[in-house]
Each structure stands twice: as C-alpha cells, then as structure tokens.
C-alpha cells in the first residue's frame, strides 16, 4: 500500500540541475525551508551531468565589452533575443562563476591554469563535466536544502489564483507526495521527444506542461534545435569491424563538437553533403536526397583543430583514436546517425515566460529557471557556446531569491481539499485505470507523428496542420487513457502526457509564425519577415483551448531595417 507524504516547505524547487541547485541554495540563504526534488538523482544523473560544462562569464577586467558581446548575441539570435535579459545574464555571470570557483569546481586546465576559450567575441571556460554536478549537490546539502530524489511532480496546486503546492510521486515506491509550498521554482529543464539520436530522454517538457496546465504563458516553442547527431553509427560500424568492444566512447559520440550543423548559422565545423557540396541545414540536405553528411576533416581551420584537440583532452573519457577518429589525419567522417530528429529547444529559448527580472511568471508564486525559463536570451537560435549553463546559474539564483522573498511575504494559503483531491485523481489516474494505453506505445505513436525531419525541421503549413490534427486527437482521446502497470510506467505516463502537450505547442507556434528565422524553417515561408515577425509567439490555455498570440519586440531592439536583408541576416535559408 503506497503511502501519502505531506511535505510543507517555504520554497519547492523542481529539478536538480544547474538551475535548480542554484535556486535551492540561494533561496535557502534567505532563511526559509527549501525542498529540492528531481525525477532522477540530484548531482548524478540528468542533463547537467551530461552537458559539456562550458560556462560563459563576462568580466570587464578582461577587457570584455558589453556592447560587443550583446551585438554578437543579437545577430546570432536573429533579433528575437530579449536584450534586457541578455545584459542581466552577462552581468550576473561573473558572480555565478565565482560561486562555482568557491565550490571547488575544477575547470579545464591544460597548462596548470584555467583555459579560456574564445567563441567570436565571447569567452568561456569549461568545467570538468563529471565533477560539477556532484559539487552542486554538495553545495545544496551543505546549505541545508532538503533533497528528495526519484520524485516526479505531476501537477501544480493553485489556490485563489496563486501557487500553493504540488502533487507528485516516488517512481520506485509509488508513494504520493503532496507539497505545500509558499513558492515554487520550476527548473525541470527543456523539452525533447525521446528521439533515438539524442540521449536527452529526461527532457520531457515537464516544466512547461505543468506550468501551462496551471495557467502560465509559454513561449519560443517554434524554435527547434536540429538534431545533434551522435557518432553512434560510426562507433557501431567500427565495433563490428574490429570485433571488439570500444571502451569509454561516451563523450566521443555524444559531445563531439564537429556534429553541430544547426539551422542557419550555427555551423561550428566543416560539414559536406554526400555529393561533396556545402551544407546549409542538415535536414534540408536529407530532404534533397544528399544525405549522409560528412565532416570534412581536410577543411578544419587551425582554430577548429585547436578547439577539438582541447575538447578531447578535457573530456576525460574521450579516446578518439580508439574508434579511428583522428581529426588531424584528414579525410571525411560520416556525420548522420541516419534519422534526422528533433532534439530540444535552445537554452533560455523556450519555456515559461518570465514577467520580471526575478524570474516570476504570470502565476503568482511560480518562478522559472534554467531551460524552463524562456528569457529569450538566445532569441531564435543558440547565441553562443557557454550561454546555457551561464543562463541556468543566473536565472537559478534569481528565481531562488525571488521565490524566497515571495514565500516570506505571502501568507500561507489553506489547501482546499476538493482541489487537492481533483489533482490527486489526475496524477493517479494511470495507476488506477483497469484498461487503457501503454505510455511506451503512445510515445512511439507521437514520435512517428512529429519526429520525422519533414514535420518539425523542414516545416510546411500543410504538414504541420496534418500533424496537428493527429496530435490533437492524441491529446484529447488517447492521453487521458494512459495506463501504468507499475511505478516506473507511472513516470512514463506523466512524461508521455507532457510530451504530447509539448508537441501540440510546437505545432501551433510553428503554424502561427509564417516566416523562417533561426531554429524555425518553413519551406512555404523561407524568408525572415521584418518587421511583422519581430515578435515572440505566446501560448496560453483559455477555456480549455490553446490560444496563440503575438508579443511584439520593442522597436528599440529591431535591427536597422534600412540595411539590406543580406546584411541583417548573413545566413540564408534553403529556398531564399
């Protein structure tokens, strides 16, 4: 018989990565009780552990120039970045960097001192990726944060229009967890669709989905980070050829930097198509029958070689020689894992809309941080290496402070038992059903509707509409009948439900934006449309319907429209 635990806390933080740990610690410093929950294990698993560890920090004493940094971000973001947030993140970043230093986090130090990378005008350092997540956990434990692992939160509890708590369960024991919280920081990461080419299956849009259902506004859903295809296929071929196991290949295939051919402009390393021609956009090459793609090892610039040399050196487990990967040898290397799939959103580029610089949302008492918080720092694209973790730490700290302040000032709301019972019923529905659909099957069906490259990467109004009809049906008819045979499947049911909602958000936002920009490419509208689409797309639930609206970008942030299009946008889309 599963137990029901009731936990009262001033601040509840959902998600234990970079953003969540910073939020928890900074909230705790304000004196109240802080509880940090994660559906995996804080400091061991999850996205932070998986990241490369790059961290941008802005430091005027290193002659960093704020205007120059911002200008680079503006161009890469294709002018959809929120410049106020950009400046906040950059200005706060050095303090957060110092927090990490004081935690004892180690950085890549090839010659005994921290190596500072340059990416355009930006500079960033690289944390040792196996060490910094456990260090964040230690920081949280030391400061007196209560950590609960393997708890997935399913619904946010609202009372009189304000956040009052949350309902979740333990994915091993199946015990229910009722949280009564003064404020909640949502730091449960980004969204992906468990696609086979990207090991980011824990990102199931939990944050956005929960917040959306509770009435928050969501933005940035149309911008997709094209797949960052893995080297898995290379490894596998190699392994079969050698008839021996390739050890320690994780970072090689997963984080090999050459494999980022994003949409416009994000090309880091030289990639060519099957005919030896240039690649603007990986999915487009496949669309035209010119896949597989290759990394042209002969075309590496000295800077790119240097970058890669350092990369392999600092990722302790990367042993590229063992799998025949030698970027200094020349030749070409197969790029695509064979399925072009949508991975995730850009850091700070999609999620819950923050209404102020304390990361508060439209829902009183709900704060958002990290990839769950759509500050639109990176606008329509990924504006620079190292911004993701930097953004997570800055918004984490700010959300933590904001939530603690809110919780200390607001009176504790009495929980209405009828409302609590309603939410418990929703969360527990999958385990209480006698018949229904398995989450594994629903996820596969959803993937087959949305994951193929021609739905969410090379988009077209007709195809988006067709997918929307099916996904809507899924959300309305199938998802309410998700069934879980055990506690593990119960988690999957929550995730599937969130991913299905996420997909509908992506499709509606993508249909609404009738232009192409950054991580959003419409075959039927292949050009940027200034100034009509110098705007963000917002999604909100109203009377059970998903309402889409346009939030214009302040005119002072527009690009200089008197400059020719080609100068405003150095990267062309296919078909332009």
């Amino acid at each position: 018989m599963a137990l029901e635990n009731v936990i009262e806390t001033d601040v509840l933080v959902i998600g234990g990565g970079m953003a969540g740990c910073f939020a928890a610690v900074k909230a705790r410093e304000q004196g109240g009780n802080v509880t940090l929950v994660d559906k995996a294990y804080v400091g061991k698993s999850g996205a932070t552990h998986f990241s490369e560890g790059n961290f941008t920090f802005f430091n005027p004493t290193r002659s960093h120039n704020l205007d120059a940094w911002m200008e680079a971000i503006n161009i890469n973001s294709e002018y959809l970045n929120n410049r106020s947030w950009g400046e906040i993140v950059l200005k706060d970043s050095y303090e957060r960097y110092q927090d990490l230093v004081s935690l004892g986090v180690r950085f890549y130090e090839p010659d005994g001192k921290t190596y500072i990378y340059r990416s355009g005008v930006h500079e960033y350092v690289s944390m040792l990726n196996r060490e910094y997540a456990p260090a964040l956990r230690r920081m949280a434990v030391k400061s007196g944060v209560k950590i609960l692992n393997r708890i997935i939160v399913g619904e946010l509890l609202k009372q009189e229009g304000k956040i009052a708590g949350a309902v979740g369960f333990h994915t091993t024991s199946g015990d229910l967890y009722i949280f009564k919280a003064g404020a909640i920081v949502m730091a449960a990461g980004s969204s992906s669709l468990k696609s086979a080419s990207s090991p980011t299956h824990y990102w199931t849009s939990d944050a956005e989905a929960m917040a959306y259902r509770a009435g928050a506004e969501i933005t940035g859903k149309e911008f997709m980070w094209g797949s960052e295809p893995a080297l898995r296929s290379v490894i596998k071929e190699r392994e079969q050829a050698d008839k021996k196991r390739v050890k320690s290949s994780v970072d090689v295939w997963a984080r090999f930097p050459a494999f980022r051919a994003g949409l416009s402009g994000a090309m880091v390393n030289p990639v060519i198509n099957a005919e030896g021609g240039p690649v603007i956009m990986a999915a487009w090459e496949a669309h035209c029958g010119r896949a597989p793609l290759y990394v042209d090892l002969d075309a590496f610039t000295p800077e790119q070689k240097e970058w890669n040399r350092h990369f392999f050196e600092r990722m302790e487990t990367a042993e590229p020689d063992k799998i025949g990967l030698d970027i200094f040898k020349g030749g070409k290397l197969k790029y695509s894992a064979g399925r072009l799939e949508v991975a995730q959103s850009f850091p700070g580029g999609s999620g819950i809309w923050p209404v102020n610089t304390k990361c508060a949302t439209a829902l009183p008492g709900l704060y958002a941080a990290g990839d769950s918080c759509a500050t639109m720092l990176s606008g329509a694209s990924y504006a620079g290496t190292g911004l993701g973790l930097c953004h997570a730490s800055v918004t984490g700290a700010r959300a933590g402070w904001g939530a603690a302040e809110y919780a200390s000032k607001s009176e504790k709301t009495m929980i209405d038992n009828a409302e609590l019972a309603r939410l418990k019923k929703i969360v527990c529905a999958p385990v209480e059903r006698q018949g229904g659909f398995s989450p594994g099957w629903v996820t596969q069906v959803l993937q087959s509707m949305a994951v193929p490259y021609f739905i969410l990467q090379v988009k077209h109004g007709e195809r988006l509409q067709a997918a929307l009809v099916l996904v809507e049906f899924l959300n309305r008819h199938i998802v309410p009948k998700l069934m879980a045979r055990d506690t593990h499947e119960w988690r999957l049911a929550q995730e599937t439900r969130n991913m299905a909602l996420n997909t509908e958000m992506i499709l509606r936002a993508s249909l609404f934006r009738t232009e192409s920009r950054g991580g959003h490419f419409r075959e039927d509208y292949p050009r940027r449309d200034d100034p009509a689409w110098l705007a963000w797309v917002k999604l909100k639930e109203e009377d059970g319907e998903m309402k889409v609206s346009r939030e214009p970008i302040p005119e002072k942030w527009w690009p200089d429209l008197s400059r020719p299009y080609e100068e405003r946008y150095p990267h062309m889309f296919p078909g332009e």
């Binding site: 061991k44 698993s45 086979a196 090991p199 299956h201 994780v250 229904g436 398995s438 594994g440």
Partner: protein
C-alpha cells in the same frame, strides 16, 4: 534499448549505477545485492552507468533498436 548486461560476478551491489541512471532503467535487487536491468527499453544510450561503475561490470551496446510497443496487453 542498449544496456546489455551487468556482470554479477563483478557487481558489488553499490548502487552507483542505479543512482546514475536518469531513466530508471536499473534497479537494485536487495536480496541478492546486485544491480539488475529492469527496464532496458528505456535505456537512451547515455552510457553513464558504464562510465560510473567502479568495477566495470556493465556493458552498454551502441545498438539503437527499440522494441515494438503494444498499445495494450
């Protein structure tokens, strides 16, 4: 999807792999004090467990096959 085996001759039952798996694929068999692959279909091939296992008892294959899921039953 990809995790293939945990060598029980080597496994010391420390539970590091259980904590390390973001997808709840591995569970600890408390009676036998061994880690067991409980939900292989949810393995996403991140290889954390293989990397973190102190005694190198885990093998994750690069295979990406996903079993056919049933809608019910």
């Amino acid at each position: 999807m990809s995790i293939k085996r945990i060598n029980h001759k080597l496994c010391i039952g420390c539970g590091v792999c259980v904590d390390t798996c973001p997808m709840d694929v591995i569970r600890l068999d408390k009676k036998r004090k061994k880690a067991v692959i409980k939900y292989p279909e949810d393995c996403m091939l991140c290889l954390y467990c293989e990397r973190e296992c102190p005694v190198h008892a885990i093998y994750v294959s690069p295979e990406k096959t996903v079993p056919i899921m049933l809608s019910w039953g």
